[in-house]
């Protein structure tokens, strides 16, 4: 295995692994859980919940995510050519890589990955409707005007109302019952925290590294191709 050779330098280890993982990253396999047996799935997930959350906090998971993120960002750079990459493109790439890292075991990760495909087909429909669609990448930017008016009826109890709101925030969890939303939110929050940590570390690395030493700065330069000249 090529990755076993680069053990000494952890930073360049990430960069080398990024190049290796690009060859393997082509196909994404979704592990479809049984959608029909919702009740049994929830009891099972209650047991497995801790096993699912803890991996998000491990360093190995963060390194996997960072290396894949670098790959995706490289593609964003290449595809945008002369124009500077927009923040939204980076955001969508980061979310996509996060969903891939989740290996498709959770609803939100599958929803992110399938929404990517939906957006390409539904672009014309989105312009015609003009309202918020299921695309989670856009629903964060636009204010959900239509659905809030519906939800602020006095008939709905507070918990159910908040479940709806939370279901909108977590991708793929609209119209899901409370236990599903709770469980997805638990995993999603852990994943988001890891995403924030990884992206912050990457940003620090690219900007010259206040937290890292100069050695890692050189490692990052080696990744990008040309290090900035030190005169």
């Amino acid at each position: 295995m090529a990755s076993s050779m680069f053990i000494s330098d952890p930073v360049t280890n990430n960069m080398e692994r990024a190049r290796d993982s690009s060859k393997r990253r082509k196909k994404k396999k979704f592990q479809r859980q049984s959608g029909g047996g919702g009740r049994d799935q929830i009891t099972q997930n209650l047991i497995n919940n801790n096993n699912q959350i803890l991996p998000w906090k491990s360093d190995a998971q963060q390194q996997v995510y960072s290396s894949k993120l670098l790959q995706a960002l490289r593609q964003v750079r290449i595809s945008s050519d002369t124009a500077p990459p927009r923040g939204r493109a980076v955001r969508e790439a980061a979310d996509r890589v996060l969903a891939v890292t989740a290996k498709g075991r959770t609803r939100w990760s599958r929803a992110i990955l399938t929404n990517k495909l939906k957006l390409k087909f539904m672009k014309t429909n989105r312009r015609q409707r003009g309202a918020v669609v299921t695309a989670t990448g856009n629903s964060r930017l636009k204010k959900p005007r239509v659905s809030i008016l519906r939800l602020k009826t006095k008939n709905l109890p507070a918990v159910q109302r908040k479940t709806h709101v939370l279901g909108r925030l977590v991708p793929g969890c609209r119209k899901q019952p409370l236990p599903v939303v709770l469980e997805e939110a638990t995993d999603y929050i852990a994943a988001l925290e890891m995403q924030v940590k990884a992206m912050a570390a990457l940003a620090n690395l690219l900007s010259g590294g206040s937290s890292s030493s100069s050695g890692s700065g050189a490692g990052a330069g080696g990744m990008i191709s040309q290090p900035p000249p030190s005169l």
């Binding site: 919940n49 923040g87 980076v90 977590v170 929050i189 924030v196 992206m199 940003a203 040309q226």
Partner: protein, 90 residues
């Protein structure tokens, strides 16, 4: 039966399961972690969860903007860096 019941009243989801899920979620939230899990109601936990998810989303947005700026800066530097390097090496 042509009409189905709303999804939230699915049978066999016990209250205990929901309570356990809520408490697990509460452990993740920075706001409510200090308090004992008995004291936070489900409504409050949900509210804090929404707020926390929104703040995390915003943080990711800010980081993406920062990363995109950094990437464009590096793009501008690399052709110049290669030119300067060739000049220096001669």
């Amino acid at each position: 039966m042509s009409n189905r019941r709303p999804a939230s009243s699915t049978p066999r989801i016990t209250d205990e399961q929901i309570i356990e899920l809520v408490s697990k979620l509460q452990q993740l939230l920075p706001e409510l972690r200090n308090r004992r899990s008995n004291k936070a109601s489900a409504s409050k936990v949900l509210q804090e969860t929404c707020n926390y998810v929104r703040s995390l989303h915003k943080e990711v947005d800010d980081l993406s903007d920062r990363l995109s700026q950094l990437l464009s800066t590096i793009d501008n530097d690399s052709p110049q860096a290669s030119i300067i390097r060739s000049l220096i090496n001669q």
